[in-house]
């Protein structure tokens, strides 16, 4: 466990993010960690005056996580990267590459993931598609 860490659930994620922003925290990044089975941990790292604050969220493989990009726009790359590498989908991403941030469209399995994931089926094209 990291110092200054708070364990949260899916329902409290956006509220916590909004509270941290109100308190003057800067978004640093997110880290995804593969656990046993189909569980994955997502760590949200924030900073205020050079002191870290972490949020820890545990999700199962098929869960959709609310995107914090409406609160912290700067999180869009980190969330897209987790979509690519861990196959966890984020709902409400302001710029959604739909698992093509680093990967080609032909690559279906998530490299950091032991189970299969499916791409979001949406009619409009993802950001940065015509590479």
């Amino acid at each position: 466990m990291l110092a200054n860490e708070l364990i949260i659930g899916l329902d409290s994620l956006l509220g916590e993010a909004a509270r941290l922003k109100r308190d003057g925290y800067r978004f640093v990044t997110m880290t995804a960690l593969r656990l046993n089975g189909t569980r994955t941990e997502i760590l949200y790292h924030f900073d205020r005056e050079l002191h870290f604050r972490h949020l820890r969220l545990t999700v199962t493989g098929d869960a959709t996580v609310p995107s914090i990009t409406p609160v912290y726009f700067g999180a869009f790359l980190a969330e897209n990267e987790i979509q690519d590498l861990f196959g966890i989908l984020f709902e409400g991403l302001v710029i959604d590459y739909r698992r093509t941030l680093f990967l080609e469209t032909s690559i279906e399995p998530a490299p950091f993931c032991r189970f299969n994931v499916k791409r979001k089926a949406k009619s409009d094209s993802p950001a940065g598609e015509e590479r």
Partner: protein, 369 residues
């Protein structure tokens, strides 16, 4: 009834221009999908994936000592900081006390790295607006710093001096004797270019008022390094006091205008600051060992961060007690500065794109890993 004129009804032609991935101004491949109305940018979407190597995943195949060499290859230009940050995280997990002399040596090589990186950038930045002679002058000066790296560490760019528990090379007294005069010459050379970088009318015309990012917006977008300090925010990871920065006298270089010119000024004056920090570290360096033997295997998790030339570098490491690490997460500063770039470009002229993009010093190898 209001009658609309023919001009008011005319729609501006709107098109999408792919800028990159191969472009003379980019040292590394990045594409920007730029939506333009006539010559004005209305939207910019970065496209990645050209140099993604999956280096974080290598932690499952290399042991935690070998991973030092892997993280150094995330990016050559800031390899010392990658290795330093990684080693700090492992040392925290394993409660390793690094010898004082080793910590000073890490600081000296880190500042030499910042110096050569900023000189490289100043040259590339000059090149982005066609100032070829200034580009060559900065790279000529940088050669002296690379020579110092080669003579002291054996390599010019990826100096590879960090190991878990210390450093692998010492700085002998005779090295210090010639190093300081060379640094003095480097400082003189940089100062000779100060009036050009700061006052030249053509540079000011291409950089002042371009790509403005105010302090509140920079913080909100998670900007780091000179991009953040150029927007008036006095935040530098070295203020946390890692390595020996707590014992060195320095203040973050800050500019307030938030444009390309401000970011250029921050980096220019940080070169001089690095020289000063090297002098302080050399003067205060105690005698003693340069590394301790690290026994056992790491178990636990830790975060570490250092100030890279482009800003805050962040590492998260989790270890389960085996020789391989469970997870290594690297967040490089260019990754953090991309959202700022996306918001800087709309409203700017297409001809200013190279200068604005270069002003955040994008490192795509770091961003994609």
């Amino acid at each position: 009834m209001k009658v609309q004129t023919k001009d008011a009804l005319r729609l501006k032609p709107r098109s999408v221009i792919p800028f990159g991935p191969q472009h003379p101004v980019f040292p590394e491949p990045l594409q920007l999908k730029l939506t333009v109305e006539e010559e004005m940018i209305t939207e910019a979407i970065p496209v990645f994936g050209y140099v993604h190597r999956g280096l974080e995943q290598l932690c499952a195949q290399r042991d935690f000592h070998q991973m030092v060499q892997v993280v150094e290859r995330v990016c050559g230009i800031c390899s010392v900081m990658h290795a330093m940050c990684y080693c700090q995280a492992i040392e925290e997990i394993m409660a390793v006390e690094v010898p004082r002399r080793a910590v000073y040596l890490r600081t000296i090589w880190a500042e030499l790295h910042r110096l050569q990186s900023h000189l490289l950038w100043l040259g590339l930045f000059a090149d982005s607006f066609g100032f070829e002679s200034l580009f060559m002058q900065f790279w000529r000066i940088r050669e002296k710093v690379l020579d110092i790296n080669e003579a002291t560490a054996g390599n010019r760019v990826i100096v590879s001096i960090n190991v878990v528990g210390g450093v692998r090379r010492d700085l002998a007294a005779e090295n210090v004797r010639w190093l300081l005069p060379i640094l003095e010459q480097v400082e003189t050379d940089i100062r000779r270019l100060e009036s050009t970088v700061i006052d030249d009318v053509t540079i000011r015309k291409r950089t002042v008022g371009k790509g403005i990012l105010n302090g509140d917006r920079a913080r909100e977008l998670g900007a780091v390094g000179p991009t953040l300090r150029g927007s008036g925010v006095a935040q530098d990871t070295r203020q946390t006091g890692y390595a020996v920065y707590a014992e060195l006298d320095f203040q973050p270089v800050v500019e307030t205008s938030g444009d390309c010119y401000a970011r250029c000024r921050v980096r220019f004056y940080e070169t001089l600051q690095s020289i000063d920090l090297i002098r302080q570290a050399v003067a205060g360096m105690p005698p003693g060992d340069i590394a301790v033997t690290v026994k056992g295997r790491p178990q636990g998790e830790a975060v570490a961060r250092v100030e890279q030339p482009r800003g805050e570098l962040f590492y998260y490491i989790k270890a389960d007690g085996s020789k391989n690490l469970e997870r290594v997460r690297i967040r490089a500063p260019s990754f953090a500065n991309m959202p700022s770039l996306v918001t800087m470009l709309p409203g700017m002229w297409f001809s200013d794109v190279p200068v604005i993009v270069l002003s955040i010093d994008p490192c795509i190898s770091c961003t994609e890993r």
